[in-house]
């Protein structure tokens, strides 16, 4: 192991687009950092703010929520509700002084393996300089 800080990112991926997109990245053997721990949910609309707070609370250095592009939602409109909810959560976290880079949302379709790879690369690149997330982390 290098002593370089390796952020731990929890990624909530919707089953139909983003998770499929990450599968495509795999099938196409696109390499990206291993810092992301994917949790596949049915729809980005099912990601409760509690999941996000809890992930930070349990020590995540970053949290990603990724869903289908507007209009592409397998469930027609789940991602629109997600978009609203996540916007509020993001504003709130920034308001209490959490680095905005630590919480991000992306649209990744089943065909966008490349984009998924890019999103992860950027995410890791952006939060490495921030160091570990200790603000909301439960100190055990």
């Amino acid at each position: 192991m290098t002593d370089e800080f390796e952020p731990r990112i929890v990624a909530f991926l919707c089953k139909w687009c983003s998770s499929a997109g990450s599968d495509l990245a795999g099938v196409s053997r696109m390499e990206y950092p291993s810092n992301v721990l994917p949790i596949t949910v049915m729809c980005s609309g099912s990601v409760s703010p509690l999941y996000i707070f809890s992930a930070f609370n349990k020590g995540a250095d970053g949290v990603l929520v990724s869903g289908c592009h507007p209009g592409d939602c397998h469930y027609l409109k789940g991602n629109y509700y997600a978009r609203r909810r996540i916007a509020l959560v993001k504003k709130l976290l920034e308001f209490i002084g959490l680095e905005s880079q630590r919480f991000q949302m992306s649209w990744v379709s089943a065909a966008e393996g490349k984009k998924y790879t890019q999103v992860i690369k950027d995410f890791v690149k952006e939060i490495k300089p921030l160091g570990p997330q200790t603000k909301l982390r439960r100190n055990q």
């Binding site: 192991m1 390796e6 731990r8 929890v10 998770s19 499929a20 990450s22 599968d23 495509l24 990245a25 795999g26 099938v27 053997r29 696109m30 390499e31 990206y32 291993s34 721990l37 994917p38 949790i39 596949t40 949910v41 049915m42 729809c43 609309g45 099912s46 990601v47 409760s48 703010p49 509690l50 999941y51 809890s54 992930a55 349990k58 020590g59 995540a60 592009h69 209009g71 592409d72 939602c73 397998h74 469930y75 027609l76 409109k77 789940g78 509700y81 997600a82 909810r85 089943a110 065909a111 790879t117």
Partner: protein, 649 residues
Amino acid sequence: MKKRTGVFVCHCGINIAGTVDVKKVTEELSKHPGVVHSEDYVYMCSDPGQNLIIDAIKEKNLDKVIVACCSPTLHETTFRNTIKSAGLNTFQCEIANIREQCSWVHKDMEKATEKAIKISKSTVERVLRNESLDPISIPVTRRALVIGGGIAGIQSALDLANSDFEVVLVERSPSIGGHMIQLSETFPTLDCSQCILTPKMVEVSKHPNIKLMTFSEVQDISGYIGNFKVKILKKPTYVDSNKCTLCDECTKVCPVVVPNEFDLGLTGRRAIYIPFPQAIPATYTLDINSCPGLLPIACGKCADVCEPNAIDFDMKPEIIEEEIGAIIVASGYDQYDKELMAEYGYGKYPDVLDGLQFERLLSASGPTMGKILRPSDHKEPKEVVFIQCVGSRDPELHCEYCSKICCMYTAKHAMLYKHHVHDGQAYIFYIDIRSGGKGYEEFVQRAVEEDGVLYLRGKVSKVFEDKGKLKVWGIDTLIGKDIEIDADMVVLAMATRPSNGAEELARKLKIALDKDGFLAEAHPKLRPVESVTSGMFLAGAAQAPKDIPEAVAQASGAAAKAISILCQERLYHAPTVANVNINLCTGCGMCVDVCPYDALSLKNGKAEVNEVLCEGCGTCSATCLRAAIQVKNITPLQVHEMINACLGG
């Protein structure tokens, strides 16, 4: 009761084992609470691999299983059936995706292994809390609805009907036939479009299993796969088709003339009309929008001359309700709006035509009886310029996509033009020529070699009138020279776009559209004829631009898919649906608001789930402030524990 989970780690040859230390994963997982068995094997999905699982379940009497292997989209079903054969409920198996989401995307063995362990642990945490569930069984109404009476709809309807299922075929215009019936001859064989289509149309009208509803529109759809309830609006034609003898007396007396849709305005028609001679059903329709008026009857001449009293001004719109098991959507296409193509003078100059208008000119039954004459002065055009990709492949200004059929029909147009006007010259401006398809490339070559069609690679910048000629400014990118042609006629291969009203229809059906407004298929490769809503299928150009053979093929595919539903006694629906804790529910109704499937409702102050409608998306559970609703087997508790496991907790 203590949980007994078995963990099975797949090498997938070196696909996984190449970058993930499978042995370490196996060993680490064996220490995880709730895990009583952990082993690895080179190919878990192989028969011996599956047998390992079955044996372990029996020997260690496991009640839960995770398989760490490839994406669940591939082998989840395989392994769920495996444990089923060993007597476990299928939902007691979960897949940890350590290939697509791990071994294939990482190089560093140590890190990849660490990640694979976390993914597997979190999957264990999930399966530990999985309920055993049985599929929800629902009855099937063994009738199909086909929306759209074009070639695709006709094909689907006939396939279904001939397999002995009742079909309701809904067409919004007065006759079936769609765009194909407007065409002259079809590439690459140049057989007459009407000659090959009309037999099918007649078969539809005569078929005992087909209930044909023309001049009708789907108004509302409720229910779910196997059990749709469809409201169809039957617009009044004011003509009783049973009485009408097609004597055509009415049109002679009708004082109104309006552009004829069938000829795309190249000819006129009366307010009372039959779209075209071979129309099915063979009857007249009174177009209320152009008729002087019925309330009060302003004219009534048609009725006066109608011998059989077929005309009934009191005809009212009807709402007809049908019970349906499966739906095929074949709503077809329309041409790109000419208003958006001002630079080519379409709509401004009478001799700038679109593809379909030119088809009519070519058609023996067309306005000119198959002669190529300029609409403006009925002279024979000697120089005709065909422009491809009008509105297509133009992400900046128009449609990003390729309309696919234009290359071929333009070649056909040019060829047929030459067959009519031997001393004429046809020019074709193109970007690329896409002639993939059986006999297509040969067809294009024929146009060039035998009929001397002049292909110019490049785009036309402007078309304008100049001394009675249509000046066409373009550029030939091959020789890099500007080109100016004085044409007698210009034919635009307009982009193909979803038919008017497709969006509204999609909303009614609750099926998704793609970014271009075509109906979205469930999977671009593996489920090309299914919509995202189960029980609804796609056929023809409604899903993407298609030529006739493709449309017919997809139509038959959709029919087959529909049959696979209709032929069953009962259907089974995934039981991973939302579930309400009525002790916590306060009946605020937020879940009802967000449910995309109207699966939720309030029953005496508490939310209630219609398990058959619910697709388990979980948006309700994220919305609920009281944590009173959650989706089975992906509950907040499970996610909470997965987060924990992912973060080494």
